[in-house]
Subunit: 443 residues, 2 copies
Amino acid sequence: MIEYRNLRVALLGAGSVGSQVARLLLENRDELAQRIGAGIELAGIAVRNVDAPRDVDIPRELFTTDALGLIESADIVVELMGGIEPAREYILAAITSGADVVTGNKALLATHGPELFTAAERVGAQLYYEAAAGGAIPIIRPLRESLAGDRVERILGIVNGTTNFILDRMDTDGDTFENALAVATELGYAEADPTADIEAYDAAQKAAILASLAFHTSFPVEAVHREGITTVTAAQVESAQKAGFVVKLLAICERHTDPTTGVEGVTARVHPALVDRRHPLAAVHDAKNAVFVQAEAAGDLMFYGAGAGGLETASAVLGDLVSAARRHVAGGPGVGESTQANVPILPIGTVVTRYQITLTVADRPGVLSQIAALFSDHGVSVEAVQQSVATARGQETDARTATLVIVTHEALESALAATVESVARHDAVERVVSVLRVEGETA
Amino acid sequence: MIEYRNLRVALLGAGSVGSQVARLLLENRDELAQRIGAGIELAGIAVRNVDAPRDVDIPRELFTTDALGLIESADIVVELMGGIEPAREYILAAITSGADVVTGNKALLATHGPELFTAAERVGAQLYYEAAAGGAIPIIRPLRESLAGDRVERILGIVNGTTNFILDRMDTDGDTFENALAVATELGYAEADPTADIEAYDAAQKAAILASLAFHTSFPVEAVHREGITTVTAAQVESAQKAGFVVKLLAICERHTDPTTGVEGVTARVHPALVDRRHPLAAVHDAKNAVFVQAEAAGDLMFYGAGAGGLETASAVLGDLVSAARRHVAGGPGVGESTQANVPILPIGTVVTRYQITLTVADRPGVLSQIAALFSDHGVSVEAVQQSVATARGQETDARTATLVIVTHEALESALAATVESVARHDAVERVVSVLRVEGETA
């Protein structure tokens, strides 16, 4: 009996994920071969420097600097080098040469996804990217396939482990942002330059990928509204706690209607938000990730697990690799992306949300009613106001300022933003201490 | 430009799931056509009685009693009639005629899965069954594909909504089993004959399906160890609560080694178990389902959502339908099941677990040490014993029995079972009140 030939895998990159993929491919080759119905052979690993030190013991002869040469002879190309170029060039070369491609490159997908998908569709190649959002959590296949017959209404995702670690620590230990970031760096959860995480660039890329899949629409990362967590203070976290909330960095993708034009569309945004402590997302601790999905027929779903880590993410990559290999053995082209819906992307101002606004105001009569008037002027209804007089320690009679915490009912983001702007200009307002959206409440 | 022809869908069964699938197919046909890249046409619905009343408004002319005639002309057959025959016959007819098949029939898959998968593989047809376990929760694809490159070590699943509703009510409201079952029946969570749910036949079928997928091995339902929840008492639930546990019906599929033979293998079992209240599964309330997966590389994952319900389950069926249709448009055969690993199925006695045993014993000196000796005789180490004297109300001096609650360390199931047997025969033991396994602790 003639056996199916060995499938040749080219690996691009040997960082924390790539080196684990290489190790597991070598160690588990027999088990994987059984699942695939054909042998699988690591043909080589393209790196910039063949002699760089590696975390994992991999035979030196597998390394090469000739990525294009390696790609040419491969059945499946696994791109784990990250960044835009030359990753984009290599993936296009792989697709053109007829290989299937597995990638975990969220930056590339969020910026050049349509180009890659179109190239793959043209030749019947398949592009797999389970590792690009949610790390080890299987979220791409569920959205792409399991929910393909449903209508996703909203996604609320904790999709960045570093920021969840920081915010969880601030919530649990009362740490400041700076201290929590220092711990995250020390433990290896944050990189030396943490900008991509704490300014939510990473989360925004994942939001773009999730929105594209959920809404069957190309959703460019530039259209994702983005706010990081660098301005979240220990005081905010504490006052959130008292009010029954926890501060989480959420990626929110949702369908809604622009009330002024009546256009149905979608938005994606990433920002710190107040989440009710009883919501399943509130229980996501440490550097864990979770994606909460609300769909028309399926109702509420949640996917939980490790959102990062070399070994954990390697699980998602190897799952894609086995899928690609089994497709190779079965024969037939890959199934293209579903981005035909072309749902309009709406501006962030059309989103309906709630604000919690904390202000330091002059403690004099009439201020509360003047501020309240500003809200009603913008058509924003106030749900609750809490006023506390800031007294210097031991000097109870000499307080000159008060703190106002105002929680609104649901209103248009644009109206809420305009309200905050006019409140900030009011002469009795010394400082806008914090503005946070309240999310994750079921209607 | 010539468009792809409409794909013809034959629906078998119009029960709670089938009628929702029919409705959504008719209502969302344009949106689904966009995602598929071809029109999708509900060719007909095979039922036993064309004139039976339906929950949902479906044009009468779609109904037929000629299932085989309908199947013959279909590109995709959706089987939602349930039961073994004629569902098995129809699915085999569909596969033979070259159609892809979508089914939610867990009983059929758990008993005749290998026959159906082999038939499908022979002709390159694909069998989709996301709705067969976990209802709306995407768990089949994640196990089948996303984790195909990883090694699943253990699955702990709450896979039956009816029993979770009953146990959650007993935990939350202190209800008896009988009362909670009556409420479940009233609310439509339990059927008139609740045997399949409360005796865990349903959960055992799902466990067989999950074990087959997770371990790449045909796992017949007869090999699933099964205990229902009918013997769980309000007193057990209350005492579990006091000890920091909640009683859940768990489906547990795991890899382990038979200590006597050294054979590596797998087991699946379904039984009520004590779960630590801090475990993510403890927070699964009402009729919700969740599947907790521990994999070698991915670590801990959890999938949460609605485990039943006509509309919710229809989401999973439609997801499969869109996948099948897109595969049809892209061309090429389906990818077969991966059951080549043939991992040995081990007897339940080889499982390692912990027991919590509650006994009524004679309140006389020396009983505790005699009972403790029985544990050590069987090589079972005791972690904790709690003894309370049962005093009749107001008669504090006249108590004749005591209650012993013994929690063991981890031990072989066979040793634990033998211990309980010998304890039950001891003349100081009046009654074995309860025996529950403790599960879900991370090592």
